[in-house]
Symmetry: C2
């Protein structure tokens, strides 16, 4: 007996998924012991969509309700995206006792635990490997592979678009705006790039991973988030002087004060393996109480890499359906001890990289040093590369380890200074991993 | 209702496993929804073994038969190692309808498929995450995480001891023998180091991964294997000149001719992420037809990292027992299409690094070049660092891409030359990944 699938949403990931199901069908059947049959595909403009040939007839429809109500379909693949229609599709599918496989990071980050509870009540499954880090099976790794460990820290580069932009700025010394335009031309960035470059996409992904690693009640609102719009080529020059580079770092770290969750541009040592993550790749570094350090790396997105995640989820869910045992591993309730409280602001003392752009005049360093000292922030180094424009001179102060709150308070005062060309940029300097 | 466990073998991994089960018990219970209870521990010298405190009484015994026959025990953890007693333990456990979790790479590489079939017939499970790459959940990744993909190539650094030795030779310029002695003192290498330095341990691990990725009939005998005993500090000097380094590379690669399986010291570019794998770490690089490149890195061994693998397997198997559905994912029968035929000898043309030690005299290069030309092997470069001892001069020839068979045939002829101090060393130069 086969297990039947309805695919709703035929964008990049949808077509990648269908191609894998068609091309790799014999292998999937062999691995499962039974076939996965695509029974229906659905898209608003399904008539214009190409789909590969399958052995059995496939219904094509523009009406998702037809698919989620089809009594012969066992699993719904939701690839519509967004939170509105996708939410309705998943709810109705679960109510109709169909399992759901989704790539929807936004919806899973906000309503995942609630929807999983609904799946559980209906005796079906909700699988979301494809929602985070495309080609890296990081959800399976956390949920099953290292389930016996206790995660202490998790670092990730989870947004391929911003990583592409940052590594391009680094390589070509070009400005953010021109690299963004290039990324848009290449199809790496959306016309509205906000989700990527303001860190919102990465924040959803971190929320999903942190919920699995640290507790189901974590949502994007718990995550301190800063994007990459303000990063200048000169920031890389200074970072390199310090033998560091800059990445949009997603971080979940257990501390004595609580759980530190942030998405922000950060300095990391060039020797760190995460610094090797170039272009549109993603990576996750996990430190476990028992397993120590592990590192995972792969394509962050793309029709086929993300399609592998969808198909692998389909295989797992199909196996559970076939063998009459819905998977009992919640993708959210993995940790429910309630011992992890998200921190509103990072409390761990770290060295900071403070970049200023100033109109050169006497006494600038003295002014800054006085304000920093007042907030108990020690100066580690002052770096200034040779520049010509005295009206817009960039330079960097690195600090001794200090807390985020102290840095912010100092910057509020510094912002009053009349020599600033723009507000200072502060980035923590993370250790090597 | 709890699921009960009997642990046989209380060496490093056994004690790591028990510590995690004790310390992390509340979390494991929370993740599972029911407790894992250790009912019995067994070792030849159990009286002298310390074990952590558990909430329920734990039977201590020297007789493994008592454990595998205990009707109250659901899962046997086999950590005895070797192929003799361990084989009897697993067979009897499976016959008694107990699932088995094992870290035994040697036994799984040789008899895994047969034992898994026995488990399947008895409606129980046989789990082996801990048998390969300690802290990296590579078995789960291949079996579940990227199940929808088709693996084309798999590269690994799978033996921590040889990687430690190689990276020490690289760093300190010391000879193999003295680094081995140091590794033995540190407890990284056994008194009899053969399994590690001759590539046998890595070969078993590659056999297990290749069986999962390419077909159940693969065994260690299918794998071309060379160890690291002949690697000299000067090999690293030459490799560095070529911007490469040397690793004991495990490789499974699909080619038009068949399946290439080898464990051998190989040159890899210093820029490759695998070159970052230092000391006792392990790593696996996978290229999938759809998911493209993914990379996984972590501790290769150690009581707790390997213990995490054992405990994570225990959780998965316990969940299946509790929910009445033995896992149907064979760790071996993952691919059974029979399209992969192991090659007795690598057939892909690669550049080779040929290192010679000679007594200097006129005409050496001419002799070598003539023999290589006769076998259609082009010379890419001849490297010679300044040396003083004319009676033992090392130098290197790198070749244009050539097949292993041609290289071997040429070396047979070259070995006749009267100027050689020892047989030439040949290593393929792999591309970057």
């Amino acid at each position: 007996m086969d297990v039947t699938v309805g695919v709703i949403g035929l964008g990049n990931v949808g077509s990648g998924t269908l191609e894998i199901l068609a091309e790799n069908g014999a292998r999937i059947r062999e691995k499962l012991g039974f076939p996965l049959r695509v029974k229906a595909i659905c898209s608003r403009n399904v008539a214009r969509k190409k789909a590969p040939a399958f052995p059995d007839a496939v219904t094509r429809t523009t009406d998702w309700r037809e698919v989620v109500r089809d009594p012969e379909i066992d699993i719904i693949v939701e690839l519509v995206g967004g939170t509105a229609t996708a939410g309705h599709i998943i709810e109705e599918a679960l109510r109709n006792r169909k399992s759901v496989v989704t790539a929807n990071k936004e919806l899973m980050a906000i309503r995942g635990a609630e929807l999983w509870a609904m799946a559980s009540e209906n005796g079906v499954n909700l699988a979301m490997e494809a929602s985070v880090a495309g080609g890296i099976p990081i959800h399976t790794i956390l949920r099953e592979g290292i389930a016996g460990d206790r995660v202490c820290e998790l670092y990730g580069v989870l947004n391929g678009t911003s990583n592409f932009i940052l590594t391009e700025i680094e390589k070509s010394n070009a400005k953010f705006e021109s690299v963004l335009a290039e990324a848009q031309q290449l199809g790496y960035a959306e016309a509205d790039p906000s989700a990527d470059v303001d860190g919102l996409d990465a924040r959803s992904k971190l929320a999903i991973l942190a919920a699995l690693a640290f507790g189901e009640r974590l949502t994007p609102a718990d995550i301190y988030t800063e994007g990459i719009r303000r990063i200048l080529p000169v920031d890389f020059e200074y970072a390199h002087q310090l033998k560091h580079t800059i990445r949009l770092l997603c971080l979940a770290r257990q501390s004595d004060d609580g759980l530190l969750l942030s998405v922000r541009p950060s300095l990391i040592p060039q020797s760190a393996i995460l610094a090797q993550v170039q272009g549109a790749y993603n990576a996750v570094w996990i430190r476990g109480a028992y397993g120590e350090d592990t590192f995972y790396y792969g394509r962050g997105a793309g029709p086929k890499p993300t399609g592998v995640a969808v198909v692998s989820d389909l295989m797992r869910v199909a196996r559970e359906i076939r063998h009459g045992s819905p998977d009992r591993v919640s993708p959210f309730a993995h940790e429910r001890l309630g011992e992890y409280k998200p921190l509103p602001i990072p409390t761990q003392a770290l060295p900071y990289f403070l970049r200023f752009r100033v109109e050169d005049k006497a006494g600038i360093i003295a002014t800054l040093a006085t304000i920093l000292a007042k907030h108990q922030i020690g100066i580690d180094a002052v770096l200034q590369l040779p520049r010509e424009d005295w009206r817009d001179l960039p330079f960097v102060i690195t600090t001794e380890p200090a807390k985020e709150q102290a840095i912010r308070d100092a910057l509020v005062e510094i912002r009053e200074a009349d020599f600033l060309v723009e507000a200072p940029l502060a980035m923590p300097m993370e250790r090597g991993f």
